[in-house]
């Protein structure tokens, strides 16, 4: 492990493979290795030195997007809309946020705007019981925009600090579903032009290059203000976040590291970069 070897073409090709295997994508991996080559080519280095240097390089790319989520309690409520494709962890993440807010003495209200999927409302209601945050819901197949509107009215009346809006999973290439999302936002604005104050796109760390399409289309259709990357407790290293940082520069507010209420952490670029390099 302390054997030094030359950082030559073959070693650099191995590094590029490492980054590709971590989902950075071929373009970003090639670019990162190219920068690395110009500063270290031909030098004698141990594997550890190389990994540390590479991690530092990646952390530099990630630092600008490591922006913690800032709740504005003066808004009463700060309206947070959670969006993303199916199964990424939106509902669970809302539950985790509600848990954090309880611990911080922040009054949160949740609204179950996934009125379509089987047991989606009941799933959020369990999180409501676990965290003490009230859950606003409607009958099955209720219009999510109308429900969001009513929830905002109630949240304002109760002077809640934050309104967490759970939405149905939707594939970004389904125009009707993306229009439904735009409608939820339009209807909220009828009541409060500034709402929603945050639109968070939830991404699954196991996703490959399609994450770029997801961010691209969601960002084009609604004003995504930040990202959350879930399931980083798994074997997937989530290198797609590096590509996303380069391409879109959207803040990464949180990472999900498990299924329990406490498993939501701020995005730490140094730790993330180390995990990518292995």
């Amino acid at each position: 492990v302390f054997v030094k070897r030359k950082l030559d073409d073959e070693a650099l090709a191995d590094l590029e493979d490492l980054l590709v295997a971590a989902d950075l994508g071929t373009t970003v991996a090639a670019r990162v290795v190219e920068e690395f080559r110009s500063s270290r080519f031909g030098k004698e280095v141990t594997d550890d030195e190389v990994k540390q240097a590479l991690a530092a390089e990646l952390a530099k790319i990630l630092e600008p997007v490591a922006q913690p989520f800032v709740l504005d309690r003066s808004l009463k409520p700060h309206v947070v809309l959670m969006v993303g494709v199916n199964g990424t962890g939106k509902t669970t993440t809302i539950g985790k946020l509600a848990q954090q807010y309880r611990e911080q003495g922040v009054r949160a209200i949740m609204v179950a705007c996934d009125t379509f999927r089987a047991a989606a409302v009941e799933q959020l209601q369990v999180w409501g019981q676990r965290t003490g945050a009230p859950v606003i819901s409607g009958p099955a197949n209720t219009d999510p925009a109308g429900l969001a509107f009513d929830a905002l009215t109630r949240a304002k009346a109760e002077r809640a600090d934050v309104l967490l809006i759970d939405t149905a999973g939707r594939l970004h290439n389904k125009s009707a579903l993306m229009e439904e999302l735009q409608k939820i936002i339009r209807v909220l604005k009828k009541q409060d032009e500034t709402a929603p104050h945050s639109i968070l796109l939830v991404l699954d760390a196991t996703t490959g290059q399609n994450a770029l399409n997801q961010v691209d289309v969601f960002k084009e259709m609604v004003n995504i203000t930040g990202l959350i990357v879930t399931k980083l407790d798994g074997s997937a290293r989530g290198g797609i976040v590096v590509a996303l940082a380069e391409e879109f520069a959207l803040p990464v507010h949180f990472v999900g590291v498990g299924e329990q209420a406490g498993d939501l952490r701020p995005f730490d670029p140094a730790e993330y970069a180390r995990g990518l390099v292995g």
Binding site: D23, G87, L171, T207, Q209, G234, S235
Partner: protein, 294 residues
């Protein structure tokens, strides 16, 4: 698209006899990039390229097709073979009733929805008496989710008894299946990480208890390089007999299909093409090949 890139690579080459290694090297670089961009896992890409190279180098340059087209055909043929060949492989129901089908995979991949879809398919197409059983005691309202899907599909679901372990529920599901003469019992399990030893042991125990005719790995079509780790771990723990690729109605290229098939050797049997219970299709290698190659 790859086809255009490859014909571009060979534009300079005109009827020179056989394709040389140098001729093919540039083409292989393009194929490698295309496959990685389509989310095929790196080790699988390397094997794939080796196969294509083996068949391309020394191949006679035919009069009727351009060299680029020739390599494209080789790439396409290797892809079809790698995806499991031309025919759709059916779900194996060759066992004494009640035939158990075990659904496994990572969190959120689509297991519960696919269980509902399978229930509907077996009931409608094969006129089978199906029991849907949820072994997920960890996700909030998971058992209710499957129960609601069962109602929509018009099939039975195992009554929910809170406080039972997944293994106890599996046992009860099989007993109910036998006692009430069901043809098929579909066992929906909780999403689990392939690196969680305890949960992999749990699903191994469930498999040993129920002896399923099929252990289906349910995978999201947009899965990236991790497909290899996940497929390997689930296969080593359980022996995967079939793969279901969900959310093929998205625009992911679907390279994970190739990775998973390569690592497990298991056929891709079905694809999910939407959220409704009838959105389940037989796997068509031609379509997936076209999508991965782009």
């Amino acid at each position: 698209a790859l086809t255009n890139k490859l014909s571009g690579v060979f534009d300079g080459l005109r009827r020179r006899g056989a394709l040389s290694e140098i001729d093919v090297a540039e083409a292989l670089r393009e194929v490698r990039l295309a496959l990685l961009d389509a989310d095929v896992a790196l080790p699988v890409v390397k094997d794939f390229i080796a196969k294509v190279k083996e068949r391309s180098v020394g191949a006679e340059v035919l009069d009727s097709v351009s060299p680029g087209q020739q390599v494209v055909k080789i790439v396409h043929d290797v892809m079809i073979e790698a995806l499991g060949g031309a025919g759709a492989v059916p779900i194996n129901l060759n066992a004494v009733a009640p035939v158990p089908i075990l659904m496994v995979g990572l969190q959120g991949s689509g297991k519960t929805t696919t269980s509902g879809k399978l229930g509907l398919r077996f009931a409608q197409r094969l006129k089978k008496k199906v029991l849907l059983a949820s072994l997920d005691v960890q996700r909030p309202a998971a058992q209710l989710q499957l129960q609601q899907l069962a109602e929509r599909a018009g099939v039975a679901s195992l009554p929910i008894i809170p406080g039972q372990t997944p293994l106890e529920i599996a046992r009860r599901a099989m007993e109910t299946g036998r006692r009430e003469v069901f043809d098929i019992v579909i066992l929906d399990t909780a999403g689990r990480l392939s690196i969680n030893q305890e949960l992999m042991d749990e699903v191994r125990a469930i498999r040993a208890e129920t002896n399923p005719a099929e252990t289906l790995l349910v995978v999201d079509a947009m899965t990236g390089q991790d497909a290899v780790q996940t497929a390997r771990a689930f296969n080593e723990a359980l022996g995967i007999t079939g793969i279901v690729l969900t959310r093929m109605d998205g625009d992911a290229r679907g390279g994970a299909a190739l990775s998973m098939r390569a690592v497990t050797g298991a056929p891709i049997k079905l694809t999910g093409s939407g959220e409704k219970l009838d959105a389940l299709e037989d796997f068509h290698p031609e379509r997936v090949a076209g999508r991965i190659l782009g």
